[in-house]
Amino acid sequence: MAERKAFSELMKKIEAGEFVYTGELEPHRSIDISDVVSWAKTLKETGRIVAANVTDNPRSDSAISSLVASYLIQKETGLEMIYQLRTADRNRLALISDILGAAALGLKNILALTGDHTKTGTTPSAKPVFDLDGTNLIRLVRSLVDEGKDLWGNEIHGPRPELNVGGAGNPGMEPLEAEVFKLERKAEAGADFFQTQVVFDAEVARRFLRAIEHIGVPTLIGIFPPRTYAQAEFFDKFVPGVSVPREFMEKFAKLKELPKEKRKEKINEFNVDYFVSFIKEIKKEKACAGCHIMAVGYPDVIGPIIEGVEK
């Protein structure tokens, strides 16, 4: 495999040994993305978020094209985007088109995903595509970038796309051994970085990071500071592979009983304390290159969490 080249700020910082932070943006089923742009500005203002993911039909709920949204947000805010691209909705021709399109628009990162099944979202009658899986999508991006041709030998004209490609991992997967094999495949396919599903339990993150250390792919652990008790409960009960420690839920349950004027402040404090120590723990692990903070619509805690870790 060709040596990995850092095209994006994200990969340059990782290669320079910096512990990186990424954020997450979720454009809606709308042509108005002003709310996401303003959220991206908030992330940029922290001065520490190096890039932000733009979700692609998350949970198989239809939304504005993540390619278009990635381009517009990056242009508007100057924050680097991680364009999420899932195989659930596009065949290999459409994927090649979008990868080349992304590079032509100046995007530098793609997160290659299989995506939730179309049956789970807003349009269950859709034809599920899954022409490639996330792993072969990583391979496709790398082939276009490194060799200037697709996986079927078709050459592209002119300059090669300059893109880094990431894959997703699930620290909560049981058995973990199967997940490790899967990530070994993704590394072989050419993944530059991994970002993970949400983790609440530092022990789960540590066990995962140690299990994948030999793979040598820089990994950003996903966190999601919940703004409300209902959000935490949602992760605990309904998000595949995510469990929230009992202690976390119990403390949060007490906070939700506080009077409204105090509640928000206390929840923010609790999240900052919890995730600062969480990140400090995982930061010690060699495989951990950073943290992917998915606090969508909850800007209050991002800056303080990062400051808490870095001070």
Binding site: D116, H117, K119, F130, N136
Partner: protein
């Protein structure tokens, strides 16, 4: 086996509405549940009663054949003279071969053909096992087909939707009226593949990076 499910009676009556003499043809081949003479006779009486109740009597006779997909045998087994339509109890293949062999009168389907599969011993449910992709990988996947038994047909699973060995997709089981009677969470095929290969001491096969499926050889209608 080819698994079929009966069409709603209303739909069948609508298809047969313009006709007055109908031959109901069973199939003793691989269709499952069985759709032989007994079932053909039951359907024949059902259609006679229901059509009479609706004010337009359809006369029905019933026969069965060894295999409705046998082009060679059909002209000897089925004599459509005197009938103005036929109702096939076979799978979609049988219905089509009947229409090819007997072009002068229409043959209608009494069944929806759902998949190729087997009967689960424990639950007595039918479940899908093969999609006839033309490029069998069972030798490398512990005898479990990822193209059929993974909802996404992934070649490099499991995906993030695998929780506790189960798939993220819920399958609805419906009765003959189309009403949901049960919701089932299928096993994650890649979880099963992992467990089986590990048991067989072939975790190396699980680790293998697999090429994308060649859907080019999967374009219908195929011929060999």
């Amino acid at each position: 086996m080819i698994i079929t499910k009966e069409k709603p009676l209303d739909e069948i009556l609508e298809l047969l509405e313009p006709f007055s003499k109908v031959l109901v043809v069973g199939c003793d081949g691989c269709v499952q549940p069985p759709r032989g003479l007994r079932e053909a006779e039951t359907y024949a009486s059902l259609i006679e009663m229901a059509s009479k109740a609706r004010g337009k009597q359809i006369e029905c006779s019933a026969i069965t054949v060894s295999r409705q997909c046998c082009e060679e045998g059909l002209p000897n087994w089925v004599k459509p003279d005197g009938f103005d339509a036929m109702l096939s109890m076979a799978c979609g293949i049988g219905v089509q071969v009947m229409n090819i062999i007997f072009p002068e009168i229409p043959t209608f389907p009494a069944q929806n053909t759902v998949f190729m599969g087997a009967e689960e011993k424990r639950e007595g449910r039918m479940y899908e096992l093969c999609r006839a992709c033309g490029d069998c990988v069972l030798g490398e996947t512990g005898g479990i087909c990822p193209r059929t038994r993974c909802a996404k047909g992934l070649m490099n699973g499991p995906c993030g939707g695998c929780v506790g060995g189960k798939c993220e997709v819920t399958v609805q089981i419906k009765d003959w009226k189309g009403e949901v009677v049960e919701e089932v969470q299928n096993d994650c095929a890649w979880y099963l593949i992992f467990e089986r290969l590990r048991m067989l001491g072939r975790a190396d096969l699980f680790r293998k990076l697999r090429d994308p499926t060649d859907f080019g050889i999967w374009v219908p209608p195929r011929r060999i």
